[in-house]
């Protein structure tokens, strides 16, 4: 089977400081991978390098595109990369306001992604938008309301609808449940699990919440000071961590 995403030797420096160094892995269709580590460990830098939002200093990111098979997204042209980010990729930001247009309606937010891939029929776009609002448990009657009138959890679900409406194959998530009320988190996690299964999505989730990765991720990468110190099956790393830092991370979680 061809990996959906193949990352080789990704390195990003900020001056003399290392963002992330020499990260390599393969992600297969339908796999969900978590990246954990303390703040400053380089997990968001890595995510942004993979999603084409930062240019790495070294290494390649090969994505198996729907149209042309495996392509190195680091060296492809900007228009090609932008097209990928509207079709095959989705990016869910920690703060919904970074991933939404707060000045236009909820329906407009979802519809915009559809128009970007060529949809033109107003009725169809509005219909799809309403359908997606319902799939993420937002009342379709709110289709004309702006996201500024939504709660934090609703905004996050709207961001997910906006991202998934074009049927992407790879979703990048940066702390998708961070900053949400725990009860809202649980509902969002259940929603994400269902969507990942039903749409056979692959996902890369950056988080510092080990409970979130246990529930969502099949496999895990633990990062420290820009490097991957341990990688493997999620429950194996959480229950039998091998590296000193992973042991520290797992044993530092407060028991409820």
């Amino acid at each position: 089977m061809t990996p959906l995403l193949s990352v080789r030797g990704i390195t990003k420096r900020y001056g003399t400081h290392i963002g992330c160094a020499d990260v390599s892995f393969d992600l297969y269709p339908g796999e969900v991978m978590g990246i954990v580590g303390e703040s400053g460990s380089g997990k968001s830098t890595l995510l942004n390098c993979m999603a084409g939002q930062l240019v790495p200093d070294a290494g390649e990111v090969v994505f198996d595109t729907r149209a042309n098979g495996p392509q190195n997204t680091v060296t492809m042209s900007e228009p090609e990369r932008r097209m990928l980010s509207r079709t095959d990729w989705a990016f869910v930001h920690q703060h919904a306001c970074d991933g939404l247009r707060m000045g236009i309606s909820a329906g407009g937010n979802v519809g915009e992604r559809l128009m970007a891939v060529g949809e033109r029929h107003y009725g169809d776009i509005r219909g799809d938008a309403k359908d997606w609002l319902q799939r993420v448990e937002i009342d379709a009657a709110r289709v004309d309301d702006r996201p500024t009138t939504f709660s934090g959890g609703m905004q996050q679900r709207l961001q997910i609808a906006r991202n998934l409406v074009t049927g992407p194959r790879l979703v990048f998530m940066d702390e998708p449940t961070g900053g949400l009320d725990v009860s809202v988190q649980a509902r969002l996690l259940d929603l994400l699990r269902g969507l990942v299964r039903d749409m056979n999505l692959s996902a890369i989730i950056v988080t510092h919440d080990l409970a979130v990765v246990r529930l969502l991720a099949d496999r895990l990468m633990v990062m420290k000071s820009g490097r991957v110190v341990e990688a493997g099956l999620t429950d194996q790393i959480l229950d039998d961590p091998q590296h000193a830092y992973s042991q520290l991370l797992v044993s530092s979680v407060l028991q409820v």
Binding site: Y28, E31, S183, A186, R187, L189, D190, R193, R197, R214, L215, D218, R219, G232, L233, T234, D235, Q236, D239, D240, Q242, H243, A244, Q247, L248, S251
Partner: protein
Amino acid sequence: MIELNNISKTFTLHNQGAAVIEVLSDVSFSVEPGECVALTGASGAGKSTLMRMIYGNYLARSGEIRIGDVDIVRSEPRTIIALRREVLGYVSQFLRVVPRVPTVNVVSEPLRAVGVSATDAKARAEALLLQLNIPERLWALSPTTFSGGEQQRVNIARSFAHTYPAMLLDEPTASLDATNREVVLQLIEEAKARGTAIIGIFHDKAARARVCDREIDVSQFSPEVAA
């Protein structure tokens, strides 16, 4: 179906003076389809550790663990996940679920994961919940607020929803009353009759005597005895 060759396990506690604890060494045995093997030994002998290694939850230091033709010790995460989805079931002692998901969905999820339709998965889940005496009014609620015994029965229903060719049972009859214990023992007997290879930990001696074909005393694998 399940074959262990020269498995050993140590825990290295890097943050506690790099203490190295040797738990098991040189474990070798195999389980045939339709056979049920009990792991015995005092508390701390390494029964659960061994079982967790077979599930891929703990990493063996050396040796190989074959489930069908997959070596758990050296497999990629996605191979182990596919194996757990289709071949290898595990009844843990505790139920771990996403909060707020209804019990009937928790039980039908393993079937949905192997591609069974939502309707058929729900029907099978409801049949199991009925068989395990979970009152129907609880099916739409999340099991997180259930009693210990109820949670254990939901856990068992979930693990027996899909018919795995290999199963690991960690005290499946603990915290159950006589009626439900009987139901669980019947589920185990049915699985054996289907040809499922089973490894179990049973503190309940009568249950062990009834469903297990042989016993393996795990304390024989402790490094002190071997040395």
